[in-house]
């Protein structure tokens, strides 16, 4: 096997085509009306990263308020309402504007058709419509913060959300619109995977990234409509008092939680499955080894998608569910550990005796393995009834889901961004600085969230803007950690953007990947491939003689 080519040389490559998807047509209008999945992917990437920045700023403000037990930030007074708005905006922006749309909208939009050897997604115009719906939803969400304020948390729990005076109606309308954006993306990917695979590519010849995103798309299509109608009911309850969630007029507040988590638990898997999908690409590529247990990982993705629909009750162990229901939901929740474990063990076994090289994407992948192990295992604590009653609504929960959503999904996202950056832009980034960001990210993340497990198990409740003095050392530690995370992300932005200043230098296949996106030029031509690629070997075939291009 050749070592990865990280210099500017294009060893063994065809000459770089003059026209590619970036310079084929010019002008802002050609971008705004494009139906090219690659350009839409880039626009989604820019949009979701702006949202990430915004949500990140609110996260830093939350941590800054919690630096000391006083209600102050840099000496300024922070009221409970202000703090509530900070964490609501952080949560709502991160969940609905960043994590859910980011990997599907940006990286997947770009890579999935290439991996299948297709010219585009099944419905290119729907793809663009999905992006514009995202824009509309984002504008509505941001408008709801500017006009008024939302202080319900991203979960919009009743009865608070039906009684608080904030602009909850506009915010939920925004999330409704964003939901349809997500549905259209998922619908598009399902149709693409079913109908646009390259000649000779069967279901089990697809890269595992595609399996992961296919499972994600199934959840997007099946769960999001329920969230949509739930939010419509919430809006109507606020505006017309229809009497479904508000107990003063004969409704049932817990019903909202059931409806909400029926979507939002599967939504958690809309967040994590894309992360796992990326990891399934990074690990074999940088271990130069065929993935271990291909079918097991593929089936694990699908079964995670299915199990996600039957565990929502574990969010409501203390919300007045019947005892039978809590026991059943607790037992079902443990099922999640099986496919998750299958994946982790298969990734580790892939690395075992592999020819591992530690470029930035692989460092992020290894960070993912460790962080996901912690995030996943602490989920078991919370799925266990007796411990959950102690840990409900504490920082333990906060730490747990940050390890999964951020420590796993965002880690994989950043790793995937480094991995496909040369393909998307035609430029190699500075490898050494990329590695530095990965190390900083890992340190900063653990510094921020490991103390929160301890805080939570000692009784620090979530969503409080002050705390007992005894918690201050751990809170301060966590806040300093959040600065390291911020530093790492700004450095990542600098490393990637700096690469755009130089002329295109990336080879077609800088990492020695075996999936089809590496067969086309970097950056790809508008129609993706000069000739229709045909499947020649199974994915992740690293046996020496098979790689002869």
């Amino acid at each position: 096997m050749e070592p990865a080519v990280t210099s500017g040389a294009r060893i063994g490559d065809r000459p770089r085509p003059k026209k590619n998807y970036l310079n084929e047509t010019k002008g802002i209008w050609s971008w705004m009306t494009t139906v090219d999945h690659k350009r839409i992917g880039i626009m989604y990437l820019v949009g979701t990263l702006v949202a990430f920045l915004l949500g990140g700023i609110f996260a830093l403000l939350v941590r800054l308020t919690l630096l000391t037990p006083q209600h102050t930030m840099f000496g300024m007074q922070v009221t409970a309402e202000t703090y509530n708005r900070f964490f609501t905006l952080h949560g709502a922006i991160m969940v609905f504007l960043f994590i859910i749309p980011s990997i599907p909208g940006s990286l997947t939009n770009f890579v999935l058709p290439l991996m299948l050897g297709a010219k585009d997604v099944a419905f290119p115009r729907l793809n663009l419509a999905s992006f514009y719906l995202w824009i509309v939803g984002a504008i509505m969400a941001i408008a709801s913060m500017i006009i008024g304020a939302v202080d319900t948390g991203w979960t919009f729990y009743t009865p608070y959300s039906t009684t608080t005076s904030g602009t909850v109606t506009l915010m939920t309308a925004a999330v409704f619109v964003l939901g349809f954006s997500s549905i259209f993306t998922g619908l598009n990917f399902i149709a693409t995977v079913h109908k646009l695979r390259a000649p000779g590519m069967g279901w089990f010849d697809m890269p595992l990234f595609v399996w992961g995103m296919y499972s994600t798309a199934v959840i997007q299509v099946l769960a999001t409509p329920v969230l949509g109608i739930t939010l419509v009911l919430l809006m109507l309850e606020r505006v017309f008092q229809i009497g479904i969630f508000d107990s003063r007029i004969g409704g049932d507040p817990v019903l909202f939680q059931h409806f909400f988590w029926f979507y939002s638990h599967p939504a958690v898997y809309i967040m994590i499955l894309p992360g796992m999908a990326i990891i399934s690409e990074l690990i074999p590529t940088f271990s130069r080894k065929t993935i271990f247990g291909y079918r097991a990982i593929a089936y694990a993705s699908v079964s995670l998608a299915l199990v996600s629909f039957i565990v929502w009750g574990h969010h409501m162990f203390v919300a007045g569910q019947s005892q039978l229901a809590t026991v059943v939901f607790s037992a079902l929740t443990f099922l999640v550990a099986i496919p998750s474990g299958v994946k982790v063990f298969n990734w580790l076994t892939t690395m075992y005796q592999g020819n591992i090289s530690l470029e930035s994407p692989m460092l992020y992948a290894i960070a993912f393995l460790m962080l996901f192990a912690i995030g996943g295992l602490t989920g078991i604590f919370l799925g266990t009834l007796s411990t959950d009653i102690h840990l409900t609504d504490t920082y333990f929960v906060v730490a747990h889901f940050h390890y999964v959503m951020m420590g796993s999904t965002v880690t994989a996202f950043v790793g995937g961004l480094y991995y496909w950056w040369p393909k998307m832009t035609g430029r190699m980034y500075n490898e050494k600085w990329g590695q530095v960001t990965a190390v900083l990210w890992f340190i900063g993340f653990n510094a921020t969230f490991l103390p929160q497990f301890i805080l939570g198990s000692r009784g620090m409740p979530r969503r409080y803007y002050n705390y007992l003095d005894q918690f201050q050392p751990l809170h301060a530690f966590s806040t300093v950690g959040s600065w390291i995370i911020g530093l790492s992300l700004f450095m990542t932005a600098a490393v990637l953007l700096a690469s755009l200043r130089k002329p295109a230098d990336a080879p077609d296949n800088p990492w020695g990947g075996t999936t089809m996106e590496w067969q086309t030029s970097s950056p790809p031509i508008t129609h993706n491939f000069e000739d229709q690629p045909v499947l020649e070997h199974e994915p992740y075939d690293y046996r020496p003689k098979a790689v002869t291009h």
Binding site: F123, L187, I190, A191, H194, K195, L222, I229, I242, G243
Partner: protein, 239 residues
Amino acid sequence: MSTTTTDVPSHGGHGEHEHNPYHQHHFTTMEQQFDTSKLGMWLFIVTEILLFGGLFVGFGLMQHRYPREFIEAHEHLKQLIGGHPFPLYGAVNTIVLLVSSWTMVMGVNAAQTNQKDKTVRYLVITILLACVFLVIKYVEYSHKFHDGLLPGKFYSHQAEDLIKGTYGYHTFFSFYFMMTGLHGIHVLVGIVLLSWLAMRARRGDFTSAYYTPVDLVGLYWHVVDMIWIYLFPLYYLIS
């Protein structure tokens, strides 16, 4: 690859020499394009059913909570025919929609078999039936408005049988207006889509080689019809 499309005319994409103007570049054949569009439509229908599904579940739970109130309230959806309460508006509308589904099928069939005038005619009849449905719905809504049988906080029924302020009555009418209203919006969208189809059909866009939009809107129209088939007994025939 696909063997599910027995009704696709065979000469659509095989003739490499004549390029169909509706053939999109990223599909190899017209059959692949048709199959993909149809799969996309089915997926969209799944989301529609789940959207309504949330409301059906909500209705079911609230009916379970207020069984007596829901039954009493639903009597107001009926009219006295020869001294017996009968769901006149609902029953007539059910028949109207069922007939429109049949005319839709005939329209799709006409498009598949290159009968331009017949396609237009059946599409126009379908549109007219959809309008009849909405007119009847309008009359029905007017009666409810007049009686103060309104959703949520607007509920102001004065008669003694359904006392204002009693839990359940206003909830019933909330769900009634939400579900029939959402369904009505879908009928309205259907009218717009069918009108667009009728115009394109008149222009001669549809042939046996390309009739995808007619087929897909047909599917949509049947789903709108089917949802009503469930709404009708749920609201008008509970006991």
